[in-house]
Symmetry: D2
Subunit: 295 residues, 4 copies
């Protein structure tokens, strides 16, 4: 029993947060909140940054039409995926390099900052030359080789939390990017695996408030993936802003019912203005402004 | 394989929500949002109701001093526990009947609506005669004999969600009270068991938005228990209001560091006014008002 | 940050097991494994005890026919529920007192030790006079008033783990019974709430091995409830015996397809002999014997 | 409500297993249990295969000494990691290519089949030429680019389940390898993220029994990672064999207290013979034999 007691205590020491494991992102070691800037967009403790765009790049037409409406709504950053990490092997896997090129062109044409997901260390260099912001998805949060690779570039990197990662594991994953040389890391909360059958994921309302006490990194939130359900996106987005999120990344589509992926959880681009109006009210309650482009 | 397939599909049908299991509280069967009224306090879709008071009744002095400050802050409902369901058998178990009497007296003296937890069917009748609102805690959400018993009285009953209850199980528990004759049920979200070691409980930000689409019952939220940490109460309370909560139940103490229970998670009564100011801002963003007593 | 650090460390200390919270059942404080005996049945570290019977008492005929087959198979303990804690308020709720009387009579007639669930402190005294072993179900693991009440009798009490209880919380619940005066507590592992949609509950294979290092109480296991699926009962029962379980409680029915409750997860009484044969093999691998009545 | 009802039902349909998503590994579409063979080792429904070796390759001496003892115990497959996916960025990250070369040499010298983890698509080709069996760890279960890459080789691939993957997601991940051309996939259950603080991971005892009804792939189990605790490895390994595992992968070290990684959960090589003796008994209860090399 005594030796087991010792072992259990060792085991449970694993639960004791160690700031040395994530020194660079630790507020204890580096107590000044960081800002990540790209052109006229800033991720940090002051303004609230919005990122919008379709889940997947499906065609030039879909991408351009969506970009146009996103731009018109005053959004600065346009997201769209060319490399899709799909659960099912026989689902649409994305337009890959062709999609990246499309996104780069349309970003330039509409003067939008572009954002996309990378899923393989071999994509990082090429994509980083064409696209402004790279994203690491939940399933790759502990794909350490990919983390090291985006640590070697200088583009901002959005790192989503893993589906069952503890907050400390999440910060350690961010630290892999930072310690490999890239200081421009933005965290993005997207929910965890829970037991509730009416949700795709459980969104832990305490994650951002606790992370804000631990790390100097900016933290945005994803209201699209946890719900699996359009009607719940705005209610969730409101709670994310109220919990202190420094921004939102929202899936929007010019024709959601025809979307090749995530059809049920993409906002119609026509709904963007109302979404912004509602989010603004909560931002105001938090003494923050939405960072929109001037018209 | 075929017979197993059939069995798995049956199993998974369990996951398909059946509104008939909670007809009385179902928005589908009874599509008008209910209001639960008691004296000048209303729980419902319009105003936001606050309940405050200490975790446990410890002494007359502590109870009265806290009541006084709660009253002064404009709060209408005063909570305090006499029957404490404690995880550890050798912890303080509450003042029991003596505590109930104290709470009743102080409620009358300060003209506060009183609220307390019941943990045993044998307590229900006596407590319901002395105290205005009865509460069923998370650990008793599926204590069906207790649910049936509070179904026989007419006092408002606050029912907290179980630590690993699905939303449908939660509504079925509420239905036990309704179908036994008591229409005055108020739900209260208090978080679920999660894997994050930096939290006591995981607070699922989607629970209230989803419940609001399923049920006609008012739903308040508890920001104290999930955090286990005073500094996180306000951030969590903000997200709860932003998610649509119809009220909050908050633990406050006149001298938190000396509290016999939950010392780390009780707000100091001196912090109430600032707490209300901050919550008001989010309520405004939701086009709602805090229901405070006029001074 | 420093004050938060302190708070987080306090919070995480909650995770450090404290044997003082469950002194009586702690192997550290009371290092001799306990045996709970009733007539010719023993729960303890040597023999393996089987309990079988229908989920619910439905009729005299059903109960008697099932008892007869259970007896013929050499099983000493016959289980059946009269008080059913049902998730859905409009489901069959059990035959209550009438069922208890039936079970008592049939126990006597077939010379079977009887076992049933209690769900209300007011049932305890009466049931304890008629039935040999009382059971507290998962949903009542932290129904502390019920625990205190079964602490006042002397019948063996089987305590199931709560659906999201930690092992320490489980032992503390057992301690409530012990410290109220009843030394005859038997633990029963029945799975926890998990995220896998193909299971009713997740059965944690480490729970019994860890409990065996912490407590002196006998521990049996329930292979019926986690699966929700007859075909998985034997595979799960095998793993439970291999993990060190001191017994099994298995739902069997004389006509499972017509069962009023748990129709999908009750073994047919005709399957009992094969079930015992298979379990015997694993018991042998563990150097243990199944404690069956002599024919 | 109606439109939400429709959405919820769509959402919940996600929970309905679709065998078409994993056709190649589905027992429904391909009802013959597969065998994966490599030299004189077979993974399949008959014999039980053991894999042993240190968590990490630390030095030539450590590796060789451990290999020697593994060989002497009759084990055919020797595991050791050169690429370590570490949670903490400042922990030992493995000997990388140098380690792979060491493992290849020692495998040849001792006539052991070698097994190691790959973490990056760029490692796959080189490692597959030097090492016999490749492993994909839990954190990379949905690293789809890595899965596609090991789909292009012919070496057996051991795929561990993700920490919060459903069984269907797990089979879909395996399908990525199969559909890219590599038929030699072996599943390996290693536990999931749970809420119990006394465990590193929760090992779901139903996972193998359910997988066996769904898939034709061989399935082994890992008793080392869930426990975080040497003393629990044998108890867990017994339950895994009793649940139908076709093999075990166990961490052993010639000097565990000095191990650079997982020091608390590696068996001492001296304990191997007793471990095998105990496992043999449970295998016998399952009518199976341990596939050991003849001496």
């Amino acid at each position: 029993v005594d030796s087991l007691d010792k072992l259990f205590n060792t085991l449970k020491n694993n639960y004791l947060m160690k700031h040395e494991n994530f020194k660079l992102s630790s507020l204890k070691y580096n107590p000044i909140k960081k800002e990540v800037k790209i052109r006229d967009a800033i991720f940090g403790p002051n303004e609230i940054q919005l990122i919008m765009g379709p889940c997947a790049i499906e065609s030039r037409e879909q991408l351009e039409e969506t970009a146009n409406e996103v731009k018109n709504a005053g959004i600065k950053i346009f997201r769209a995926c060319a490399y899709k990490p799909r659960t099912h092997p026989y689902s649409f896997q994305g337009l890959e390099e062709e999609g990246i090129n499309m996104l780069a062109e349309i970003g330039e044409k509409y003067n939008l900052i572009t954002e996309t997901e990378v899923t393989d260390p071999r994509q990082v260099k090429i994509v980083s030359e064409k696209i402004d912001i790279l994203r690491i998805g939940a399933r790759n949060m502990q794909n350490f080789e990919l983390l090291k690779e985006v640590g070697k570039i200088n583009n901002p990197v959005i790192l989503k939390n893993g589906l069952s990662a503890t907050l400390e594991e999440y910060l350690c994953a961010a630290e892999y990017i930072l310690t490999n040389g890239n200081p421009n890391v933005i965290l993005c909360e997207r929910g965890v695996r829970g037991f509730e059958p009416l949700e795709r994921f459980t969104y832990d309302a305490l994650s951002i408030p606790i992370l804000k006490t631990l790390t100097n990194l900016p933290i945005i939130a994803d209201p699209s993936h946890p719900t699996g359900n359009k009607e719940l996106i705005l209610p969730l987005a409101r709670t994310q802003i109220a919990s202190g999120a420094d921004g939102l990344i929202v899936e929007v589509h010019n024709n959601p019912s025809q979307a090749l992926t995530d059809a049920k959880q993409q906002l119609d681009t026509k709904e963007i203005p109302n979404f912004i109006t509602e989010i603004k009210k909560v931002a105001q309650a938090m003494n923050r402004k939405i960072n929109l482009s001037k018209k």
